[in-house]
Symmetry: C2
């Protein structure tokens, strides 16, 4: 559990593309973002107040979050100076970088001396149990994709936002580094040891009120041979009541696998639903989320209408047109 | 890679049940078993020559394999004395115990001083790649089960033995601790980090002669919610040409999951085959392996005949009645 709110560290990254994590926090948990900290030459700007460490602490910030990807896998001297000063100032540090904060002897020593925490969200911080498959109270919704990186996280977060706006009980449950940094909690599923994957998802989505929905962040794809085992564990550990099919229509092959074509939405439905019903016989496919970012608005709307007819299910791009249809589809469950 | 042949250490275990690994080595790789080493009070006997460490070394033994499970998770003083002496005598040590050899400071120090290896086969010894899904040369056969522990490893090993006896090219590929100790090599798949599971299986079953068969050890079950992600990674990493359905007909619920019934063989076929065809569109279900150990011979034969009729596929208990039918079924592929 990472203490919120955050000061978002952008370092000296050249552009907004490198600031994906910080943008996610600003967009999805603005209440967690007190301000931004930029070094000279930084080409990213979140539109938040630029703050010194002391100003951010005074404004209540608890954790300095490294909201960017660094190239080269080295934490530079310029970054290090700020990170050490932040620890001294009373901040915890949180990072999704491949090179871990805990592997930096100076950061580790200063964190120990000051009693602050170093959160490396790429590695599990807990020993998870082996899944027991017991039916849990409350409801769970899981987006599953025809491919990796088709918008499963955004779908779950957009649905959570819509549900909370309606006064419904809903919690986004992150299963990846970006989601964990955005919310401050979750399971880095792709870094969990095989035997404990499903158990970590059970741990993440515990018993809850009968009318509460977990919106679980999806991972991988049943059709992506590199990561399908992670997707499988997520479905069986999450025991979803509702599946959302996620798709990106302009992709020409599976991400990173040039020899593999994307499956159809029908093929995804026909594979995912029997798998999900092993853990939850009541599971239903309730809607379709299409990532239309590479389509004109006209083309996107035409595509969504066609999918709705063909699949007999509500279809939307929740980021572009809102998640209302998908939330409506949960109502009967 | 563990150096063979072995001296099999049985310690002071009370009975044969505790000697599962040693029995597996004796039964499946007798050429790897130079002799056995027993402490006073040992209730197990493999029927091999009892040897001192020096005698076993003289007979060519390279590695002392702890062929038993220890209860309590502690390596006792009596065991330790033998293990230290074995290192001094020139043996490597290999173990599938939960408590690792490498975590014992004395064993570690003596191994370093003597230049011997400590093989803890429960933990991966390599950094595996992420799977790339590329089609590999050679053929692969994978047993998949209606449940865990229904005889998938024995099926693969019995098929390998039958194929080698016929002069065919075949290699058993272990994916669990017991199989690794039996053969000296393999991947401890349930201990691999999620993102690298499928890649570790690709590594284990590389390009080979066009007429060579890998017989891959199965793990878990697509219907066992605790471990199904491991099974999925094994199917997509192994890209099998042939699946064998494995079943234990007397089991009343999924192993360790009292609320879960076993699926039918039809349900297993209908789920496993589309999944396997994602990685290998030519994959076929070719036969059925039934673990009949809890049935009379008459009941077993009747059950196998019934399954053959219902499924339209050859069915046998490869341990009881031979694996010939299953090997025959590979011929057309």
């Amino acid at each position: 559990m990472i203490n919120t709110p955050y000061l978002l560290f952008l370092g000296d990254v050249p552009d907004m593309l490198a600031a994906k994590v910080a943008i996610g926090i600003r967009d999805w948990r603005p209440e967690n973002a007190v301000g931004q900290f930029r070094l000279p030459g930084c080409g990213a700007d979140l539109g938040l107040a630029d703050m010194t460490l002391a100003e951010a602490r005074a404004a209540g910030a608890q954790t300095l979050v490294i909201g960017v990807a660094n190239r080269g896998g080295v934490i530079s001297k310029e970054w290090k100076k700020v990170l050490v000063a932040a620890l001294e100032e009373g901040f915890d540090l949180a990072s999704g970088l491949h090179n871990l904060l805990r592997d930096e002897p100076d950061l580790r020593a200063v964190a120990e001396a000051t009693g602050r925490a170093l959160h490396d969200v790429r590695v599990p911080s807990l020993s998870y149990p082996i899944a027991d498959g017991k039916k849990r109270r409350g409801k769970r919704c899981l987006p599953v994709g025809t491919d990796c990186s088709v918008g499963k996280m955004y779908t779950a977060m957009a649905m959570e936002r819509d549900m909370i706006a309606r006064g419904l009980k809903a919690t986004f449950r992150p299963t990846g580094q970006t989601g964990i940094l955005i919310t401050g909690d979750g399971v880095p599923l792709d870094a969990v040891v095989a035997d404990f994957m499903a158990g970590s998802v059970e741990w993440l989505t515990p018993d809850n009120d009968d009318d509460h929905w977990d919106l679980i962040e999806g991972q991988g794809s049943l059709f992506h041979v590199s990561f399908s085992g992670v997707t499988m564990a997520l479905i069986h550990g999450g025991q979803p009541d509702a599946l959302i099919l996620c798709h990106e229509p302009t992709r020409t092959h599976m991400r990173g696998l040039p020899d593999y074509a994307l499956p159809s939405l029908e093929a995804l439905r026909d594979m995912a639903l029997p798998i999900a019903r092993v853990a939850n016989p009541a599971c239903e496919v309730v809607g379709i989320s299409v990532n239309t970012q590479h389509m004109s608005e006209e083309a996107a709307l035409a595509y969504l209408a066609k999918v709705e007819t063909e699949m007999g299910l509500p279809a939307t791009d929740p980021y572009r047109f809102g998640a209302g249809k998908l939330v409506d589809a949960l109502a009967g469950l």
